[in-house]
């Protein structure tokens, strides 16, 4: 009964909309769909989204690993504070996050005058979009790694140290291989969010063509062509496609991950 309910809800809220996106996108035939996708503005949006993700994801992978490493392998004052701060972007509404960026980097913000004098535009420019994305996607990798690294403990790292391995060697040869599936899983989630973020990015961007990411583009096309469904759904289908790919990769990684965890459990028996 519960399972039936779950399947019903899943169908109504997830599968139907997903199918609808692709059906609507192809409503006027494949030609019309391709025409919309190949539109210059769409391409520019795709490019910006990819650039944003290409900056935000590696940065947050780095931050995430470093933060998880700090929190789980060392004891220091303010450790729990750091752990809480990592979660901050999860608990703050993206719009508020965007507004905070405005307050800090905006024209009348703290760094506004300095940035203006240096002629480095942040707000209402690409750096702002990247910053907002970095902020929003910050916790994904760290959150994924912290419980995993906590469970693994520091025994293997200590063993490596005693055997004469340096910090980097220990990280590359011992820590990283142990967390690789969890890390990949975090990176995938981080990437999905980086490409899909709307709220925070919306606040710090303008309507100019070079500041439109895919999610913003979907919204813009929707308002521009609301009498026709094909353009907006064609663009939306790109994001939906990304979601499907993410889900498939994620399922695979999760499967591998569980496989490894099971093995580890057998290890500790």
């Amino acid at each position: 009964m519960l399972i039936a309910l779950a399947i019903l809800l899943l169908t109504i809220f997830l599968i139907l909309p997903l199918v609808l996106i692709f059906v609507s996108a192809l409503a006027e035939g494949f030609g019309a769909y391709v025409h919309e996708v190949l539109d210059d503005r769409t391409w520019s949006a795709i490019r910006l989204t990819l650039i944003t993700a290409a900056i935000a994801v590696p940065l947050n992978t780095l931050f995430g690993v470093a933060a998880a490493w700090c929190v789980t392998k060392f004891d220091f004052r303010g450790k729990s504070l750091l752990a809480t701060l990592i979660d901050l972007p999860f608990s703050v509404s993206p719009v508020v996050a965007g507004l905070c960026l405005l307050l800090v980097f905006g024209k009348r913000g703290w760094f506004g005058p300095v940035l203006e004098r240096l002629d480095v535009p942040v707000i209402f420019a690409v750096p702002g979009i990247v910053l907002a994305t970095v902020f929003i996607t910050f916790p994904f990798v760290a959150r994924e790694l912290i419980p995993l690294m906590e469970a693994q403990g520091t025994d293997e790292e200590q063993a490596a140290r005693v055997l004469g391995a340096g910090g980097w060697q220990t990280f590359w040869h011992v820590t990283l291989p142990n967390i690789k599936w969890g890390l990949l899983y975090g990176v995938i989630l981080c990437n999905a969010r980086a490409m899909g973020e709307f709220g925070a990015v919306y606040v710090v961007s303008t309507n100019q063509a070079d500041q439109i990411t895919l999610p913003l583009h979907v919204q813009r096309v929707y308002y521009a062509t609301y009498v026709r469904v094909v353009p907006v759904f064609a663009v939306a289908s790109l994001l939906a496609f990304l979601a499907v790919v993410t889900l498939i990769v994620k399922t695979f990684v999760e499967w591998r991950f569980r496989h490894d965890v099971k093995r580890d459990d057998a290890d500790t028996e």
Binding site: E156, Q158, A159, R161, G164, G166, Q169, D267
Partner: protein, 352 residues
């Protein structure tokens, strides 16, 4: 290489004093056991020697290897072999990669060639009797096999000092016995200065050249197994090294040295195997102790009897050899007399 720690103190951030002015010298080629209950500081001491923990910043004492102060050296620089309690094998590496790790992470100019490394690994796997398992992963091995991989990995870097943290703690009784005999043999062949931590007195007494008994962060006694067993320095050591019965000041021998009028009645300590039983009151004993046989545990070479004293209702444990038990064949519920063959007192009991 000898190890010398002097006046080591270590307080953990929570304020727990794990080591309190501990001094110990381990001679070259010696096998020393750090024995104590949990929380006695034995593992902390081992980890301080390895460089995995640092002693207190002020007045924390120092660690010397071969008369050279290594207090400032990192764990890697001290070049010790360390076997972790739960082995800490690298779970994503094969046995071969685990064992060769210490050689592979060396700086290029000190690193042996691929072939040398392979030969070394095979030599070590031979030594620990795991020849055929080089390509297995840790999770495919039994506990005893993992233990030996951990040992081979520690030995690969040819350490001058081998430190083992509860090396047999996680194994079942039979494997434990085999492994500890094997470790002793290995030590006799390699003559590498070794220190191991254990809470099992039998293990310490059987394997070690000398035993260092620790309690609450302090050294209670250091000596050969015979020393600490036959001549315990205090009642903690005596208690810890075996089962013991307590008798309060009612023995014909009386306190041997110290006795004051207002002191509390002295306490006598008697091991279960030093208590014999008689059917009739022993001759010449003005106040024989009578007890009722409460329970007999006859399995094994030693028969264990639990007796309840008539006068105090305290439970006394006695161990009889199988022959003696058959000869006497006491029944449950029967009254017998206790004969204390060897009673011991400790001066500290008088000072209270």
């Amino acid at each position: 290489m000898s190890i010398e720690v002097s006046h080591l103190s270590k307080t953990f951030p929570g304020g727990f004093r794990a080591l309190d002015d501990v001094s110990l010298r381990v001679e070259t080629g010696e096998l020393v056991a750090l024995l104590g209950p949990s929380g006695s500081g034995k593992t902390t001491l081992l980890r301080v020697i390895a460089g995995l923990e640092t002693p207190d910043a002020t007045g924390g004492g120092d660690v010397r290897f071969h008369e050279e102060d290594v207090s400032g050296a990192s764990a890697g620089e001290r070049k010790v072999g360390f076997v972790f309690q739960h082995y800490a094998l690298f779970r994503h590496m094969t046995v071969e990669r685990n064992v060769s790790f210490g050689l592979r992470v060396r700086p290029r100019r000190l690193r042996p060639g691929k072939r040398q490394i392979r030969d070394k690994v095979h030599e070590l796997l031979n030594l620990v009797q795991l020849e055929g398992l080089a390509s297995r992963y840790p999770h495919q091995l039994s506990g005893g096999q993992r233990q030996r991989v951990a040992l081979a990995r520690a030995l690969a870097v040819e350490p001058k000092v081998l430190l083992l943290d509860e090396p047999f703690g996680a194994l079942d009784a039979k494997v434990r016995r085999e492994l500890r005999r094997w470790l002793r043999k290995l030590h006799d062949e390699m003559h590498i200065t070794s220190v191991f931590v254990t809470h099992d007195q039998e293990e310490a007494l059987e394997v070690a050249d000398r035993v260092c008994v620790l309690n609450k962060g302090k050294v209670e006694q250091i000596g050969t197994p015979t020393d600490v067993y036959e001549h315990p320095a205090n009642k903690f050591v005596y208690n810890f090294l075996g089962n013991v019965n307590l008798f309060h000041g009612r023995l014909k021998e009386g306190p041997p040295t110290v006795a004051t009028a207002n002191a509390a009645p002295p306490t006598f300590y008697v091991r279960p195997h030093d208590i014999d039983l008689r059917r009739t009151p022993p001759e010449g004993d003005p106040s024989p102790i009578r007890a009722r046989v409460d329970h007999v545990s006859p399995a094994g070479p030693i028969v264990r009897l639990y007796l309840v004293r008539d006068d105090t209702q305290e439970v006394v444990e006695s161990e009889l050899t199988r022959d003696r038990f058959t000869e006497l064949s006491p029944e449950v519920g029967e009254d017998v007399y206790l004969v204390l063959k060897n009673a011991r007192t400790f001066a500290e009991d008088y000072s209270i």
